[in-house]
Amino acid sequence: MAYLLGTFFAIFAFWMGNSGHYKPLMLGFAALSFAITLVLCARLKILDREGAPYVRLFGWLAYYPWLAWEVVKSNWVIIKACLRAELDISPSLVKLKTICKSDLAKVTFANSITMTPGTVTVEIEGDKLLVHGLYEANTQPEAFEEMDRRCARAADPAEKHA
């Protein structure tokens, strides 16, 4: 039920933010399409914690500004690497072990690694991630521990993490 309400508020905000027409006819169409969407979602059984992750919105609201600052910092490193007169890089492949439990948290973590310039997730298998990095010094497993912890806290607030 909570997932249904969350989905309703999400599509409501999406429609109201995108349409800009508030005549009764358009609002009627809106109500009709909300009803059809919710019925289809319920029949497809995708209203679970991955299909409607709005409970975790507050965790993500705290997480993404931190990630944005990390992205800015590593952007600066890669911009310098691109524009340096002589090429000076040391690519490396690293295998990481994540503490994230659910698929959603793992996807958030892998997405964050890829979003940060200079590191990209090559493969996920179970709780192991294969990461390719542009600088060997920046791709040690210790460098990802804080991001891993913050991802786990943002996407799995209910589960206990050491």
Binding site: C82, S90, N111
Partner: protein, 126 residues
């Protein structure tokens, strides 16, 4: 107090267009920097890193500039929607590219190269 807020509002109306223009210009420059990186880096995996500058800071700054210059809040909502979709999809597509290359068996070049590494390797390539 109301006059003070009106003053701030008027100043913002004047200032936001140059600010937005500057953000768009900076984003465009960063896209060019990313392209230079794509041309200079030695193999596929390192080129993906250079392309991720274009994905994150380039597109992000251009969209922030557009948001600053938006004439109406409806446009602002749409720009934020685009930003959200871009942040999710560009990352996913670069992961899909790299994963496909890895699955196909493309071996990445590992270890220091360029100034700190083997100069003869660089010569061999050309």
């Amino acid at each position: 107090m109301a006059e003070f807020f009106a003053l701030i509002g008027n100043t913002w109306e004047v200032v936001r267009f140059p600010l937005g223009g500057a953000a768009c210009l900076l984003g465009a420059i960063l896209c060019i920097v990313g392209t230079i990186g794509v041309l200079r880096f030695p193999d596929f995996y390192t080129r993906v890193h250079a392309a991720s500058i274009t994905d994150t800071s380039g597109a992000g700054l251009v969209l922030i500039g557009m948001a600053l210059m938006a004439p109406h809040w409806i446009i602002l909502v749409k720009v934020f929607c685009i930003m959200g979709f871009l942040l999710l999809t560009s990352v996913t597509s670069s992961h899909a590219l790299v994963n496909a290359a890895h699955t196909a068996g493309l071996q990445p070049k590992i270890g220091p190269m360029g100034r700190s590494g083997h100069e003869e390797d660089e010569e061999d390539k050309h």
